[in-house]
Symmetry: D2
Subunit: 345 residues, 4 copies
């Protein structure tokens, strides 16, 4: 049994990590930190843990937490994560960082979209934690940058097409719709029930911070510079991201052919499910599980491919993928603690 | 006061028409038909009408209803509407048809996407009831084909760009998201609360019947043959359609310039609201009202325009627009009975 | 046309008042105040008003607002309302106060449940603004205390039984369920979408401030001291309160007899709809309208009456009732500006 | 590994059973039956099972299914379950019946509320499957009648009070609110998204079939004839039942004392969580898990106890409890396959 810590454990991602780790066969949770809830049992803040754990939140330095843990999950806002990563690495601990701080390999890009980077020397050491693309690197890493929720579904949705050079990369349009838990538990007017319920809107068109992250990984896949047009929308549901992805085909393929390409590409992947032609995913089919479901359509009239991918933003889009990364880092079975059927209805 | 009938008044569109007509200053509702609820007070089927009307549903032939009314709204499934239209016209009545039967001018296109047409001789007589584009024709018409819900928002969202030749017409992609009331009150598994709630999915990608309707009107606007790629999605809300529309610009414009084009185009339109640059519509801002709200973004990185339009599918997308059409046909103020502030939150 | 002001107009109740007043045939809105949004057009804060009004929020003293208006609606938190009421009354203006400050006639009770009262000399002058019980007093009043949302539905639901002495007053149990807009637009964790959605809970059992308000009015009706057991619950909907009210019958009546009593009692009331035996109200049948719908059941097995009442908490529970009160104060038709069919579905 | 069958596996309860059994350490699912979906993979009907099982629905006689299984779960409508139970028992199989057919011990009561009983000789053999009350009997049973969803939460909520004679049994009022999945996947107008969403109503007041089931068990607990007043309501959520239960205390106790009584009573129970005084359960804290959460309040003003209990109707209210019963029948750890943290948010 390894000892795990969750640094910044009071938000939705933090509690989701605890939900997964509490029954993980190889892990014991040794520390949960929260400045706000210091001294409070986690089961008071999240009653789902009543009867399952006596853990209390602590307010502790990275050094103290490093003394308690083998691996630490950082569920902190960007900026705060890079401030504590060096201490954990110096103490010889493994880190899965769920913030954006080590996702962008290019420092200038990070600083353009976020803030000044305080640990740029570690950017090269960090591995982008998308197991389906970087499995071997993750196995050897001690610092994994867990991907953003939108990029996870979009990159997995486009990878087979870009690897195989099937589409015109300047034609990619990504129309994503995310549940509200993606905004976290912070107090913002736009997250109030009465503002979200029965509503639907686009936001940050052309200006969302996940766009450069997609660009980076799609460019790696295609060996060319990709600039996606990314439009996020806010769904009046708690969990789930569905991305509808449009691209012009370079040749002429029908849906069955494209589907075959995806099935080959993801043949051995446990957490990517390629749908048979004629059916498309629904976010409700991945709720609470670590799957990325992908459906394929070809519009013959216009020569375009339409890919639909669905994930649970708190699972494959955050905590689930983080556990998958930890499993790889420790050589555990990749699905340890993740054998969860989606909750339906 | 004119006498109005609603033929097929038991569904959501039928009851919405009654909601609007009951306080319309120029109209009295003389007949509501329903085979299923014959003899039942409408206030038993829809308790919102308790205390407001004693009307009962009747099961009556078009001839009988024609005897009671000056104008009739057909809230029937496609196929059934064209079966009764001739009788109403022969009796000298005005008809607003909310079905798809007279929306497509080309008989072959209709028969390809729907069924055999039983009244093709009337196709030319019918006017497509989008007042912002066909106001003068509607004023003179006795048969108005009320547009589909998706086409209403999409056509209004694209009209200024197509009229002014600002975009590459082969590049148009329409990603629409509709509330569940668009599926009507029929018993279908896909409309059950537990199937829709907390879910989100695309459906009928490239195969929705509203695509040829959009193509028809967008082609008229652009004087070229348009084929849109149209992807509808099902939102877990009751009312509202938000369409995110992508197109490549022919020249180089910024959002303020495009916005100016829209403001000019819709300058005198009461029911189209163009948003200032930087803000985008939300379906919750049009709920229960007859507005079409439009927001504009230009993505400089990719040279694309992103238009977002929002309507209430039961209002501007159905009953509200039908009343607007009736107002035009009778020379009433165009907003009579439609002076409704959206219900928020 | 009279001039109306809304003092504290940035919350849900304030915007609902504006929604009602904007098309009110006898009223012009002259002032909207908000410290937070001073200088901002109301249509920026609530886009439903785009195209309908150019009004901007102002930050103004009661004296300044009194100079602009004949009547003022106070949509302020308790404590703040009583601080400005004297200024409006001294200026000879009429006031409809939507806060709790003048609802409780007994100063000590107010101070026990709220805070110290700063204008106790006005408690006697204020009229409790439930038109169905205090219509004549309201007509003559210049200070109307608009009832709380929960009390409105509960008092209307119990009045006929208490007036006629049909129930044992010590047996009254009120189990109420309210939509989330009742909590206002303040930033609270408990109002976040992800906290409310798919959830349901009781709160403040035996400790809600609306209990003494119910006690006060139910005691007046029954001429005895009533102490209700009141349990509020939070519903994952935006609008609506449904109260299920239990009481032991003093004699033996069947549902038809009790129903007859209610129909007689509310015979001339436009905004109370008594349901026929066998049907019960749903909050979705009053959404957006000023109705209070009441259904009656008698449980023969246990000799108890079960009353179900439904209102829209922002309408009959707040802004709608406030406009109804204003109509009475000015001798306008009681339903002026309130001829609204509920929005369904 | 034992072999399990689910007879009638196409509804929400059937798929929930499969969700639980698919990772159960002691069970293999050998058969799923459905007339409607015969020959269809379960993963086509419920995409959550994609990648997890190749099982197809079969249409098979009880005899055939008995040949494949050691234990069978009946997820059939009442009436159909009792028609197949004898065949399974004759074949020496164990049966967990999730229908109402064997819940009521008294044949006449069953026939009054349901239909004629076709296997009355088995009524005595059946054990009421509430483990917290009948654990030892369940261990020895071959026919377990899985309790109704409402009764589960209500009986667990009242058991300590009735066992200890703390309340006046004629005073019990049960006000329950259930999510929509309780109505199943059948096509009914009242289950449509647009009918349920943003709505809330009471239904079947005094006439719900779960009332006699509560009466039966509460009478056993109290040794007197109990007749509850039971009011079910429909919540616009998918999962969860919250019951607010009122009763007059016989003596004078404060909340801490009552809470102590509950803690003692449920001391060793894994799936009942008694809340500390001052906190009350929310259905969102039991979603997807097998817990029954109970909160306690005492209203000193009226001398009444208010108990709030929360379950997931598909879990502790159906499939979860069924698996708990099977675990007992086979001597497996009682929580095998049920070590699930609730899904939040």
């Amino acid at each position: 049994m390894i000892q795990a810590g969750i640094y910044g454990a009071s938000g939705y991602t933090g509690q989701e990590l605890l939900r997964l780790l509490i029954f993980h066969p190889e892990v014991e949770v040794a520390a949960l930190t929260s400045r706000k809830y210091k001294g409070t049992p986690v089961s008071d803040v999240y009653p789902i843990f009543r009867g399952l754990t006596d853990l209390e939140y602590i307010d502790a330095s990275p050094e103290t937490v490093a003394g308690l843990c083998d691996v630490v999950f950082l569920a902190l806002p960007h900026g705060e994560a890079m401030a504590v990563v060096p201490a954990f690495l110096e103490a010889g601990k493994k880190v899965v960082d769920l913030s954006a701080d080590f996702r962008l390999r290019d420092r200038a890009t990070y600083e353009k979209w976020y803030i000044q980077h305080s640990a740029p020397q570690l950017l090269e050491r960090a591995v982008y934690g998308l197991p389906e693309l970087y499995r071997d690197d993750i196995r050897k890493a001690d610092l994994v940058a867990n991907p953003g929720c939108y990029p996870t579904g979009v990159i997995l949705g486009l990878a087979p097409l870009l690897k195989g050079d099937y589409i015109n990369i300047s034609s990619i349009i990504v129309d994503s719709k995310s549940g509200t838990s993606g905004a976290g538990r912070e107090l913002q007017m736009g997250s109030l029930f009465c503002e979200v319920n029965e509503g639907f809107k686009a936001y940050k068109v052309g200006g969302h911070r996940h766009a450069p992250e997609m660009d980076q990984e799609l460019s790696v896949l295609s060996n060319e510079e990709v600039k996606v047009l990314f439009t996020p929308h806010l769904l009046p549901v708690t969990r789930g991201i569905l991305s509808t992805i449009y691209a012009d085909m370079k040749g002429t393929y029908d849906a069955a052919q494209i589907s075959g390409i995806y099935e080959d590409f993801y043949d051995d992947e446990k957490f990517v499910r390629v749908y048979t032609v004629g059916s498309l995913p629904n976010i409700s089919s991945v709720r609470g599980s670590n799957y990325c479901d992908i459906g394929i359509t070809v519009d013959k009239r216009t020569g375009r491919i339409v890919i639909v991918s669905a994930i649970d933003n708190l699972m494959k889009g955050a905590a689930g993928q983080a556990v998958q990364n930890m499993n790889l880092m420790y050589g555990f079975p990749e699905d340890a603690g993740l054998n969860l059927v989606s909750l339906y209805p």
